[in-house]
Amino acid sequence: MFDVLLARWNQGHRTVGFPASPPALPDRFRGRPEVDPSKCPAGCRDCAEACPTGAVRFDGPSPQERPHACPPLVWRGRTTDDPGGESPLVVRPRHTDGGPASGRAGEEEGEVRGGGPGVQIDLGRCLFCTDCVDACPQGSIAYTTDHRLATRAREDLIARPGEVLKLAAALDEKARRLFGRSLKLRQVSAGGCNACEADVNVLNTVVFDLGRFGIQFVASPRHADGLLVTGPVTDNMRLALRKTWEAVPAPKIAIAVGACAISGGPYVDHPEVHNGASCEVPIDLYIPGCPPHPVTILDGLLRLLGRLDAK
């Protein structure tokens, strides 16, 4: 007993100061990339060619990119409803605050609005591996230690030169009244490699103490206000994801964590996967990374609930 008390004393108070103070991140941490097209030699595409997932692109989708069409889900010989289509039973919170429209399933890869000249990075596909930096002797691309990456719309994840990333806006007031002080999430790993899962789970430790924000992971979708999806959505997990989503009572939200759940990540366009969660659920919050740092995930969740300044 004495040992237990002594250990409690020695282990001390370990909860991080974030969000009240800035997070302590390692100097080699790879956060939001910045691009400087003025350094690019004319016609050079080395970074785009080095990129393993086609995240680095010039003026629109990269040549490696193919639109991914989710075939209808066939279960027990029956074809079910349109994938990602809104079930008539589902009442979804409407975003009427003039904020960014939530990335609906209709907003697929490839529907990226045409940008200005120069290199762009799709953070939804980016693995933050810096293969593009290695391929660029001019140093046009640099990864900063900025951990803030979460957005509400898929297209907001395209980092363009000279543009500020449009970070996630809060849910509308009605949804915030429902979820703002108590958000219960069911996590579904649909092909996740256990890195996103681990760094979501770590939010429950004393270090991040997710409970202090009223956010909790629950065992049953019936008890949940929404889903947090990781993984590229393998064909073998698609039905389970669909059924779990349908088991969550409306109104409900969906969060995609990690490059896989947003775009397929390193598995993008594999025939065994469906390029992310939007094939089955309409996504309200995108948190990029491979895996995202726990602080990035927490930052995204708090922004969604309107508990961080919009900056």
Partner: protein
């Protein structure tokens, strides 16, 4: 009968040197090798033209430190090894699923990964009788973990039989290693089991280096060793915390969850990623350890060492924890050897299997870590082996940081792969033996890439550990193995 070709870990041979036997001889050869103390590290097929499939076996002998290779061409069906050699069972099911071959006489012919899609449903073994009931769990579980399906046949609380059906995580890793873009390969390797990024990246990098004849600087070898042991520390600490949580002992659960993060953050100090993403690359490592960073690493490691010792030792002093750990989920040494278990799960049965010892590679050729074993084969043994390994990895890291060799951390230029060669690369990941087999074609392209995650060997161990246990002990037993779903499903 020709004698099989033997290689050392990370050595290459001409692909044509592997003996090609008749199917019956191949079977006999594998059975004799297993009888003689070898273990199946890998058994896989690849297309050999027409309807033929070339089966290849990698048979590991830990005492000698050698890997024997043999192969045979089969068509349509072959005589199953499993009735005489249970450790072949999942490998044969995998071959059957991938190539449509029939392993004749296989007693448990079921899918492994359901690669053709659809819900992973199979005909589960069923116990019938009064008061027998069935419990189905998954694929979506209660916690934040990967998906898998568990089907229990219970009599009251007692589990008669547990069947584990996986495949939900199948992402086509092995296929894409051959067919996909080269730029993506290392990222598939780092995410095929994302909690073992360093372990798998090391196995891949060593295979590529061997096939291209690249020399890896000594400094890179030492840095890889540091990263691999940090990965082990983080995961073993996390497992001990989770085991404490599963028996409701919250002090160790909450301290351990935090200290696990301290070890992950040391990996992030080294390379910016808590999971070691981007650190290991063919030819060396991408991030060097400068003296200031090295000093910080040792200082933070010392602090974490004090904390982890205090947190974990509470477990062994608490009777309510020990009552749950001891004699729960036991596996006998005999079953362990029959199933070919690896890693801490095998060492907890008193079976001394550790790639770092038996097939030393890289830095482990020069610096050895004492092997940690325990005899009882229960949850306690699997927990205690982890604790012993934590205590042995820490001084190893300190020693490496102190005596870091001078020189570059990465070889200058990448070399092309040599044509028509084969390499077997083993690494002791935190879960156990990682085996990668790589082969190039006549043009020097990758023609075959086989990955065996330690979980592939060990999932059946979990099923056996549950026999005769209370179903309520399943979470505890499961955590004591803590196997990878995606590493199995690939």
């Amino acid at each position: 009968m020709t004698s099989p070709l033997t290689l050392h870990n990370g050595e290459t041979c001409a692909a044509g040197e592997v003996p090609l036997l008749a199917a019956a001889e191949f079977r006999e050869e594998v059975l004799q090798a297993v009888e003689g103390g070898r273990r199946i590290a890998a058994l896989f097929g690849r297309p050999a033209g027409g309807d033929r499939v070339r089966l290849a076996a990698v048979l590991a002998n830990g005492a000698e430190g050698t890997l024997a290779l043999t192969s045979a061409d089969v068509e349509k069906s072959f005589h199953s090894l499993t009735p005489d050699c249970p450790q072949a069972h999942l490998f044969e099911r995998e071959i059957a699923e991938q190539f449509g071959l029939v392993p004749e006489g296989h007693p448990w012919m079921k899918p492994v990964r359901f690669p053709r899609g659809g819900a992973a449903v199979t005909d589960f073994f069923r116990v019938r009788g009064e008061e027998v009931h069935e419990v189905a769990v998954g694929p979506v579980h209660a916690g934040v973990i990967e998906p898998g399906h568990f089907r229990f046949q219970c009599h009251g609380e007692e589990v008669f039989h547990l069947e584990i059906s996986l495949g939900y995580q199948h992402r086509g890793v092995e296929r894409a290693m051959i067919e996909g873009r080269e730029a993506r390969r290392i990222h598939l390797i780092e995410t095929l089991a994302g909690d073992t990024s360093i372990g798998h990246a090391m196995a891949y990098a060593r295979a590529m280096e061997a096939l291209s004849g690249a020399r890896v600087p000594a400094r890179a070898q030492a840095l890889r060793g540091i990263a691999l042991e940090l990965e082990r520390l983080a995961n073993h600490t996390g497992d001990l915390a989770a085991l404490a949580n599963d028996v409701g002992y919250l002090p160790t659960a909450s301290y351990g969850g935090r200290i696990r993060g301290d070890f992950l953050n040391l990996t992030a100090l080294l390379c910016g990623s808590r999971f070691g993403r981007g650190l290991v690359r063919p030819g060396g490592v991408r991030f060097d350890l400068d003296p200031t960073r090295a000093a910080e690493l040792v200082e933070r490691l010392d602090a974490a060492t004090r904390d982890v010792g205090e947190a974990v030792n509470l477990l062994w002093e608490t009777p309510s924890v020990m009552a749950r750990f001891e004699e729960t989920g036991s596996i006998s040494r005999e079953v362990c050897e029959q199933l070919g278990l690896v890693g801490p799960a095998a060492r907890a049965c008193g079976v001394g299997r550790d790639v770092r010892h038996e097939f030393p590679y890289g830095i482990y050729r020069f610096f050895q870590i004492p092997m940690s074993t325990w005899e009882t084969g229960d949850v306690f043994a699997r927990a205690h082996v982890r604790w012993l390994e934590i205590q042995r990895s820490i001084p190893f890291i300190r020693e490496q940081v102190k005596a870091l060799p001078e020189g570059p951390a990465r070889a200058d230029a990448a070399h092309p792969l040599e044509a028509g060669r084969l390499c077997v690369s083993l690494v002791e990941g935190w879960r156990g033996e990682i085996c990668h087999v790589a082969m190039t074609d006549a043009a020097g392209r990758l023609a075959a890439y086989k990955i065996v995650d330690p979980s592939f060997h060990n999932w059946t161990g979990l099923a056996m550990a549950l026999r005769g246990q209370q179903i309520s002990d399943f979470p505890l037993c499961n955590k004591s193995f803590n196997l990878s779903y995606c590493g199995h499903d690939l």
